[in-house]
């Protein structure tokens, strides 16, 4: 049993601890005012492009920018739908349009692009070299079905932007995706991020679809080679969307718009268009500026400053 005095002393200590805790957390959340939280896809994060853009942005604006979500388009959109971040930078047009239609995002801004690669073993057992992307998929599936030990395809299988692109390529090749998905051991569902999927494809001497920038960043450790590197079917467009403050009060819309305006500025476009040149011998991304038609983006959404204001309900 504690005496009354001791008990009071203990209560006092506990309350002092609680007060300290509250003060610290209040101080921490006060820093929120000038903080921008970005959810993005792994390719922009893993290659380091987004961080170098962020560094430039921070230097010019007195703001804190964090990238708490960088696992892929799927989880990034989920974070946006919950209002946990202020800005999305992703690469899946259909889901972006849907995201805005549902009122979660303000407007779409295309700002950069590159191409997906179909990569595979050097000896190319499915003979896809020289084909276009959907023909190549058809050939991989046919060879895979008849010879699953030699020909395998690894899918991300994680609803990422790359996985979405892969599904649309199967459709273009004339297949129903759910049929492909369950057609046999040649089709390996890795349920993994891009880097891990590339490593698995490398270990298994298999084909896979990858964004160009992640492949370049991992290339040094891989024996896989790019077999198909271009064509409209493999286009990969990155865009930014600020979260709608009307639906998600409390998001930092001002700073999100400011960041998008920086993304489309000539200065930042220059950074994007030259990023990776030194390290990889060629840039990992193409700038959006002047390439709206290539990217298939309308004039209103292509490399122009934000229009939508940040009015809250």
């Amino acid at each position: 049993m504690l005496s009354k005095g001791l008990l009071m002393q203990r209560n006092l200590r506990i309350s002092m601890f609680l007060i300290a805790l509250i003060t610290v957390s209040a101080a921490l959340s006060a820093a929120d005012e000038g903080r921008l939280k970005i959810a993005t896809t792994s390719s922009l994060y893993d290659t380091g492009l987004l961080e170098s853009i962020v560094d430039q942005f921070i230097e010019k604006n007195d703001a804190t920018v964090q990238i708490p979500s960088h696992g892929g388009t799927g989880i990034a959109i989920a974070a946006g739908q919950k209002g946990d971040v202020d800005l999305l930078i992703v690469h899946d047009k259909a889901r972006e349009v849907n995201f805005i239609e549902e009122g979660d995002g303000l407007e779409r801004r295309c700002f950069a692009y590159n191409y997906f690669y179909i990569v595979g073993p050097d000896d190319d057992p499915a003979g896809v070299s020289g084909l276009n992307a959907s023909q190549a998929f058809k050939s991989i599936m046919e060879s895979g079905l008849s010879n699953p030990n030699q020909v395998k395809f690894i899918t991300r299988g994680d609803l990422s932007g790359t996985h979405s692109k892969e599904q649309s390529l199967w459709k273009a090749a004339g297949y129903d995706y759910s049929a492909v998905n369950t057609s046999g051991p040649w089709y390996v569902d890795a349920g993994s991020p891009m880097g891990a999927t590339l490593i698995m494809a490398n270990e298994k001497s298999a084909y896979t679809l990858t964004d160009m920038s992640t492949f370049m960043a991992y290339k040094g450790n891989l024996t896989l080679v790019p077999l198909i590197e271009g064509g409209d079917e493999l286009l990969n467009v990155y865009s930014a969307i600020a979260i709608n403050p009307e639906k998600h009060p409390g998001v930092n819309c001002q700073l999100a718009n400011q960041f998008i305006d920086y993304l489309v500025s000539p200065e930042c476009q220059e950074i994007i268009g030259t990023y990776g040149q030194e390290q990889y011998g060629k840039p990992l991304f193409f700038k959006g500026e002047g390439n709206c038609e290539v990217m298939g983006c309308s004039a209103e959404e292509c490399v122009v400053p934000t229009q939508a204001g940040c009015a809250q309900a």
Binding site: G74, G157, S192
Partner: protein
């Protein structure tokens, strides 16, 4: 909050409807971790007994080291086993990378320090009289070890269950060695990671609840067993 509540409802739904994919993933999780714990226990419990019984130089340092490795990061074990099993690694020709067998090996390495260390602690609790009596009755080393393990069986079983819990709930080895391949190496923890990255937070929560449920059943059966 909504996801947590919906996750609970979804977990109930997945279990009640015996969702085939969830059942299969759960069974695979249990099978792989059970195999890992079973094989590890066969090696580690006698090994723990041997370390405890014998006197040798550096024994204390060895026990300290084993106890330090309780908190072995799962990703580090994953990386280590990955490098060993990779095509370019020393055991590449065995083709164990991205297989359930590879996962079993990784999990065995992961939980061995816990099994050995907790066995040693358990055996320390056994009265030295029992050991001395066994020796005076003419028991050889393996008989003495068997006697004291039998004496400390509850604590040893608890060690095995802790190891099983760690194997079942770890994600580093399962992801790096198994590769989360559907219908082959996908287990509960890697599914949770995948569903989260897909943004399917409710399904993810539901799988987590199933995992917690399994741990709960295990613990309850242990305390039943000990209470007897």
């Amino acid at each position: 909050m909504e996801e947590i509540w919906n996750g609970i409802l979804r977990a109930v739904e997945l279990i009640v409807t015996l969702n085939p994919e969830v059942m299969e993933i759960t069974a695979r999780s249990l099978f792989i971790s059970f195999t890992a714990v079973f094989l590890a226990a066969i090696i580690d419990i006698p090994l723990g007994g041997l370390i405890e019984l014998r006197k040798f130089r550096g024994k204390r340092a060895l026990v300290d080291l084993i106890q330090t490795l309780y908190g072995l990061p799962t990703v580090t074990v994953g990386l280590l086993v990955f490098l060993l099993l990779s095509r370019s690694g020393p055991f590449g020709s065995l083709e164990l990378l991205y297989t359930p067998t590879g996962m079993v090996i990784g999990q065995m390495i992961l939980i061995s320090p816990i099994l050995i260390g907790l066995t040693i602690s358990a055996l320390r609790g056994v009265s030295p009289h029992i050991r001395d009596t066994a020796i005076s009755l003419g028991a050889d080393e393996s008989q003495v070890i068997r006697t004291i393990i039998k004496e400390a069986r509850f604590a040893v079983i608890a060690a095995v269950l802790i190891g099983f819990g760690r194997a079942l709930s770890e994600v580093g080895v399962a992801m790096m060695i198994g590769g989360n391949i559907r219908d082959y190496t996908r287990v509960l923890t890697t599914s949770i990671a995948l569903q989260t990255s897909m943004g399917n937070l409710e399904t993810s929560m539901a799988l987590g609840i199933i995992l917690i449920g399994i741990s709960m059943i295990l613990n309850l059966s242990l305390s039943r067993f000990q209470g007897r």
